[in-house]
Subunit: 358 residues, 4 copies
């Protein structure tokens, strides 16, 4: 694109006002970072019960050099007020709280991008099974679009309510869905072994996540039935065309950011060749700006994706066991949370999908 | 010593029963570790409001292989009961709480080794100046012995109440006191720049000490008037024979354990030579089991002392500035807390000073 | 045992002289630490080409407080000399080099405990397949005992050449062998997903293991055919009574020490109950001093085993997938290297198996 | 500035071609990152003896999503060729090597921005004193401009050879120079105690910088005469108008990036008030885009500047000692290396000083 075309396009793009409810957690803070540097979005409100009345610059000194950081104050989260301040509202809230904001904001005409798990499932029954309480707004489940742009790009463009996927689901779904859709691997017996940085636990003042409890420590947790299984299995089942039951083991490792997932898959036929896998991934992601297919001897490494919206994927067919090993790496706070949400914002706003993300 | 003499001596040593009040913090846990492996002390009680009724093995799996860990249960801290269970009681409590246990325990005839700051000062006025409230038991201040064995060995042997020094004070006092006593450095203008691992902040569920807030972070804090200044200055003044005002800057760094202190001192005369410093330290510490004087090109490194009761000390005379730079490294939970307290236990019990510490 | 019996037993125990060839790597250094504090072993020689002529205190300041550290100098590794200095010689050498020392030392009458992979396989063919060169001393393969005390205790007691297992194999074999022997899990389809601290790579000056390349990084490596597979599969096959092919994925994570392994196993029958697994493990390891079977909600955490010779094991039957998930944690340099080697030393010397290890 | 003015200005800006000699170290890699995202600079060549012939995408997977990363290959460093490929050449080379490239590049008409210490001193004698060999191109020393934009902005705009300051010097000079120029602090007796992340040591395959040697370790080094002292003292002396001798103690701490410096200064008169210091800093840096003056209770924290070109500065007057404590935090690879070099590139190119840096 010539520079002049770029300028003309740029001028035609309508700026949108955006707000973040729950901007004091790690995902919320990452959204702040991305939206402050976004060329078309204007951050007009950030809420935090804890920090209401204080400026962004005071609470997050890292943003203090941004011109807006001294003008922007945290406010109490009030849906009515936010609906007047913003066209699109991000919800970076604990699971179970998002629905009470989503309903009035949608009614007031805002688009809502929810980073919690509240709208990620289509089935209210499965929600209850995994979250142990009734869904607070079951009607909205059907209206919500699962915000994985590489899979649901067209639906996201037209959505009013986006359920942005979690960090573990993204790291598992993007490598697995194309293989299931192409019938290259069996839907049964899939294993996902995931390693997550500590920011995945949120900015919670709990002893388990103190520096001295995490540093020089590696540990599995939530074995064998982690809550995120529900959304992962629902999406895998849609891709496979049959019910998928997943074995999923999350581990906590001492890094701030990053998820590394190792997947164990069974090729569906005896004749699956390395080249078929490669072709399947090239077809699915060859032109995707945020999926990096590794070739040669390279294997994923979280340090190559931290701070970016990229997911790295590599695979190996093991001739000794017959299995297909697929490995992915992403930044849990970017492609696994805030970055992916901004990718959806770009799509539903008609902006370039990579705006503010590269 | 021949092996037979060793056995005879060993048999003559009277075992003592010891208890820990506040055994769930980092210092308390380190005391548990040291006392479980101690050849002469028998750990008979550990208290924790939070964990009362649960076994040591359950709360601290790292001790679960020790035969006592399943029998020993955390109890509520009750001075009367503990006085019947133990000859010596360690207090690993927050500052300001220790006094309420020390008084009844001493009255009941127990020896008390307090790891808090409550009895480290001789002056109730200075206590009030730094801790902003009246001292709860000012009479005990004069009876307490400052538990720095390399300086107060003889007093500790006869003490009933020992105020075990904090981690920062130990890292500053041991390198500085011999120089002040020998008159080799000036009492004025001393600067101590200290770097501490995160366990120094205790096992407190606060956002500031979460993994993601400490990892990849380095920061000063408590500038310029840190509470520990009071006990450091009192001890330095005693050594110098005149009032010492210290410049002290603590920093938090992302390691679990370890304190590295760099001291900036002014030689008192023009003629101070490297050899005078070396001789002063050799005289003070040449036979000390827990002070390692580094020679040659070696400089202190916390990784060489972590897990041990050793403090490393090195020094350099800078011909360009005329200053004496002294550096020390210690484990803040061992020589800076639990290990030093056990060293005092050994002294007041008539056991070898290194028992259970090497 | 009464104290007098202890003393009598202690006096009857014959001290042995031990030496370490290759004492400057991480495993060698850990052996030095363990042997310096061992009640019955006397460390008489440490070799290192790089540090020959320098004292232990100079090269490893952390040992400088030990009385022997200034007397003990690193020497050039010469088998003839070492055979006169020691009854038992540890080889902490790179793979492929150990054989040239083992042969003359054994001929000279020494016992040899080899920490490399050189004698861990029974088959010279499999060795060649995985290590890409002929085995230098194939006759010794049959004489060597695989030094996993919980499995080969009786053989180790009588052995002259012990092939001490690697860190990954230990973390996989101990949790899996009892289940295979009892026929509770299928021999086919086993997956081991392992996370290792960086010391597992050795003290090698390579860019890949620099602090900045490992910190804030998580990455798989050696996928899918890691060298250690050969010894793991041979041992698993012996336990199963049939050929086992293992899926093994090692990952590098930013901790100094520790291996966490997650195993995915298929129960062999439909009726396998939690209690059968528990009973199997209790029978195998209920009285083992260095195997800690976790119950209740506890899961393994490397921070609970680092610095000890303990391996933690926990398991979960997943009713949703039908799989058995087994997780283990160990210190790769202790139970995965030096500690396990000392455990073998204790066995072949007739000392208590836990001597110097608790 | 209105958007249209922005576009017009943008179009008027002439793009420049830039090259990096030595792009495989940490500073070089950071320059690659900054220049790939720069709006006006076009990266046309990167050199590396080690990686010649390989693409940027292969060696640094983190850049693989950038469109240029597959086209741009590392080449052998040849000054003649580079002079034809670039208008401005960055030298990210070890000290002592830069001069041999600077001379031919300058003769060929390129501007040179050198990140080594080779041209930072004005005096060839001081160079020899600290670097122990004659300066290879003493004539250039007088032509070089010290690339600290906040101090030498006007000279940088017209310079052909820029000696970009090191990370320690930047962290010390920016907080100190305004105070010295204003006569608020004494030129004598200044102490700088600095803590640096490990990337400051470069991507060198040395045992000292292995993960396991740095993690859980804190240590001083280079005490008392570090090489960087020469450039710091020269610049401080210029600011003070008299010879300054600095006490400087660097420490290595386990973070990838970041320098935290604590400065101990003596106010020059009895009457120096907090407000005078504040006014001095406001005057010097109040409108500087990359200097963040902290107010209120905030103290510098490296995590707030990592990844940015910002230096944070805070200060405290200590009424007990009479000293002024000044603390600064910066990213050693950005404001301390690559970012500052790009800031100079912007200045000498007539671009906005913040281009590509915010």
């Amino acid at each position: 694109m010539c520079f002049l075309c770029f300028v003309v396009n740029f001028l035609k793009m309508k700026t949108k006002k955006v707000a973040i409810i729950g901007a004091s957690g790690y995902s919320g803070e990452e959204l702040v970072r991305l939206l402050l540097q976004h060329p078309h979005a204007e951050l007009t409100a950030v809420t935090s019960r804890q920090y209401a009345g204080q400026t962004l610059a005071r609470i997050f000194p890292r943003f203090a050099s941004h011109p807006k950081s001294k003008a922007l104050q945290f406010t109490e989260p009030k849906a009515g007020l936010l609906a007047r301040q913003a066209d699109v509202v991000f919800l970076a809230l604990p699971h179970g709280v998002a629905a009470e904001y989503a309903v009035p904001l949608l009614e007031a005409g805002c688009a809502v991008i929810d980073l919690s798990a509240d709208f990620r499932l289509r089935s209210a029954e499965i929600y209850k099974d995994f979250y142990a309480h009734d869904h607070p707004a079951p009607d909205l489940l059907k209206k919500a679009v699962y915000g994985l742009p590489e899979i649901y790009r067209d639906q996201i463009k037209k959505a009013k309510l986006i359920a942005s996927p979690g960090c573990y689901p993204t790291s598992i779904l993007l490598p697995t869905i194309p293989l299931l859709k192409a019938g290259l691997v069996k839907a049964g017996g899939i294993i996902a072994d995931s390693l997550s940085g500590v920011s995945g636990a949120g900015r919670k003042a709990e002893v388990d996540y103190l520096f001295c409890e995490c540093n020089e420590s590696v540990r599995p947790y939530g074995v064998p039935k982690h809550r995120h299984l529900s959304e992962i299995e629902e999406q895998l089942s849609l891709a496979a065309g049959s019910k998928v039951i997943l074995q999923f083991t999350p581990h906590l490792i001492p890094v701030n950011r990053g998820i590394l997932t190792t997947l164990y898959l069974a090729p569906s036929g005896k004749s699956v060749a390395e080249e078929q896998i490669a072709a399947c991934y090239r077809k699915a992601y060859g032109t995707e700006p945020f999926v990096r297919l590794l070739d040669g001897k390279n294997l994923p490494d979280t340090k190559n994706v931290v701070g970016t919206n990229v997911i790295e994927i590599a695979w190996r067919l093991d001739p000794r066991t017959g299995r297909l090993i697929v490995m992915s790496a992403e930044d849990n706070l970017v492609k696994g949370a805030g970055g992916q949400a901004v990718q959806s914002l770009n799509l539903l706003s008609g902006w370039p999908e990579t705006a503010g993300l590269i």
